[in-house]
């Protein structure tokens, strides 16, 4: 017996989700970064009570508002896609995702909606202290929102705190704390938020540099550049620190993803880090992945072949062994359903016990060949290098700017200011490359080891997914063009410093 499903349905559904998430992610990092920066600027105003800093804060707040207004609710489309294109997945994870997404909705709506109004309307209506608190609470609200979204995302990368219930066919939450504070969630949150801070800082520095190059708003631009540079440098180091933590976590929980980042086919105890082409740093990958000088980092072939020693002293299983366990889990699930239907509770209990033993490999039952377990290596290899390389470039930019600000020689290096302007699009490329690493790197899994994307997708018409894909492409492109136009108009007009 052989049946089939159109592979293009999976590809189009994935493409649509990727398109929506990536467009949504154009707006979010700037909200996170600018939110923190205007909080700092207003704090300076609160301390100094100098009207210059109030007007400076108000200008960046205006750009924050433009980005916030255009970006708000674009993430909701992702939730529509869950129900329509990924209905199997949505059913299976409903119990896990319900709590974090509900908290995110409540926090985002109440915290941001309340305090953002005070932030924009309250300059002359509330006390400076209350206004400052509202600004910080708006930024904090956006950051908390990101936390809960990333908790849900991290659970897909490292599913913990749940138990599969074969009666409801759902993963049910048994420990909220394990899910909310899983190591994957913590590092993903820190790294994602710090990348958002970097985006905000590069944006502020780039726009300020443009004013300096044009000879406009010198005092305003210098002050903004100072805040942006100092905060950007802090954000870069924080992103490096959280990125390092993320590397260790990925090495432990998703070794195939790490091996794909590095294009590492055969592992070793002294694995080098490939910079690009033949340029390698000896032993560097081992150190970055394990924080030890000698430790085995498995390559793609090692992970497929198994047999190497894991952290807990056990031997890694081969792809074929995992696929066999996956099929056994599926057979136990079938036996459970049949026994349950027949009312044979003893047989159902035995089948459930067998299912639970093999459940960690359930998704492998869908895998037909070991090649399916390898994500697209060239895309990941280069995306990782683009992310890290651009991150390094921003460190150099901020260090150089800080040095010149301290030495008061900023205007003698117009090329650096031009470079800062050019970094605005680059920081978005850096951020998007990071998402490609995180999401493409976990393929073929929708939920790591438990559910491949091929089993998560709904059996709907490919044509309907194609239509909505192009509708979204149009909608988001219009939104992006509108945002850029309004933003450029506001920047050209400049701040009202009188």
């Amino acid at each position: 017996m052989l049946s089939s499903v159109d592979v293009s349905l999976i590809d189009w559904s994935r493409a649509q989700f990727a398109l929506t998430a990536m467009y949504h992610w154009l707006f979010v990092p700037l909200t996170l970064g600018l939110g923190a920066i205007i909080g700092i600027m207003e704090t300076v105003y609160y301390v100094k009570r100098d009207d210059f800093w109030r007007r400076l804060t108000q200008f960046w707040m205006k750009l924050f508002a433009i980005n916030f207004a255009v970006g708000v609710a674009t993430g909701l489309i992702l939730e529509f896609e869950f129900g329509t294109n990924w209905s199997n997945y949505s059913w299976i994870v409903g119990d896990i995702f319900g709590a974090p997404l509900a908290i995110e909705g409540i926090v985002a709506f109440f915290m941001e909606a309340t305090f953002i109004a005070v932030m924009f309307f309250g300059w002359k209506k509330v006390s400076p202290g209350f206004h400052l608190a509202s600004t910080w609470l708006t930024a904090l609200g956006a950051t908390f929102s990101a936390w809960w979204i990333l908790v849900a995302n991290s659970w897909m990368q490292y599913p913990v705190g749940m138990e599969f219930n074969p009666e409801t066919v759902r993963h049910e939450m048994v420990s909220f704390v394990s899910i909310a504070l899983s190591p994957m969630a913590i590092v993903k949150f820190l790294h994602t938020v710090s990348s958002g801070w970097m985006t905000g800082a590069v944006f502020v520095v780039g726009v300020s540099s443009w004013y300096l190059l044009r000879g406009r708003q010198q005092q305003f631009a210098r002050a903004s550049l100072g805040v942006g540079t100092a905060f950007g440098l802090f954000a870069c180091f924080f992103a490096m620190f959280s990125g390092d933590m993320s590397g260790v976590t990925v090495a432990e929980k998703q070794p195939m993803k790490l091996a794909s980042f590095e294009g590492l086919y055969d592992g070793s105890e002294h694995a080098p880090f490939t910079v690009a082409g033949p340029i390698q740093i000896p032993n560097m990958l081992t150190f970055l992945a394990t924080h030890k000088m000698t430790a085995f980092v498995p390559g793609i072939n090692d992970i497929l072949n198994g047999g190497y020693e894991l952290e807990d002293g056990t031997k890694a299983l081969s792809a074929e062994q995992k696929m066999a366990y996956g099929r056994e889990a599926m057979a136990s699930f079938t036996a459970f359903r049949e026994a349950d239907k027949a009312g044979d509770m003893a047989a159902a209990a035995v089948a459930k016990k067998d299912l639970m033993e093999k459940m960690p490999y359930f998704g492998y039952g869908h895998i037909q060949s070991r090649e399916e377990l390898v994500p697209p290596v060239p895309l990941l290899f280069w995306s990782f290098r683009i992310m890290v390389g651009l991150g390094g470039l921003f460190v150099l930019l901020f260090v150089a700017l800080l040095f010149l600000i301290i030495k008061d020689r900023l205007m003698k290096f117009p090329l650096l200011l031009k470079g800062a302007v050019a970094c605005i699009p680059l920081v978005y490329i850096c951020s998007q490359a990071g998402w490609i690493c995180a999401e493409v790197g976990r393929q073929p899994w929708a939920i790591q080891d438990l559910l491949p994307v091929s089993a998560a997708v709904s059996g709907i018409q490919t044509a309907s997914v194609q239509i909505t894909f192009f509708l979204f492409l149009l909608l988001f492109t219009v939104l992006l063009v509108v945002e850029i136009r309004i933003m450029l108009q506001a920047i050209r007009k400049g701040p009202d410093m009188q």
Partner: protein, 85 residues
């Protein structure tokens, strides 16, 4: 009641004094109409909304027990689904 009036006035005055904010509100409203009316009603009906919870369970279980690989059959553009039993 006093507080409610105060909050109401706060928002009213705020909206009245907006400059660029008016354009942004138009963008937000048009976008929400597109998302919730056009997309949600006409294009994004939940795929299993017509099923009861019991039927949803059975449907998803059936789907989970029908392995679908991601390998492309070059001749047909279809992926083969090989039952495990």
């Amino acid at each position: 009641m006093y507080w409610l009036t105060k909050v109401f006035r706060f928002y009213c005055d705020g909206f009245r004094s907006m400059t660029i904010g008016r354009t942004l509100w138009i963008i937000i409203i048009v976008k929400l109409v597109i998302i919730f009316v056009l997309l949600r009603i006409f294009f994004f009906r939940p795929a299993m909304s017509h099923l009861s919870p019991q039927e949803k369970q059975n449907h998803v279980a059936d789907e989970l027990l029908q392995p679908k690989s991601g390998l492309l059959n070059e001749s047909s553009g279809q992926i083969h689904v090989v039952p495990i039993h």
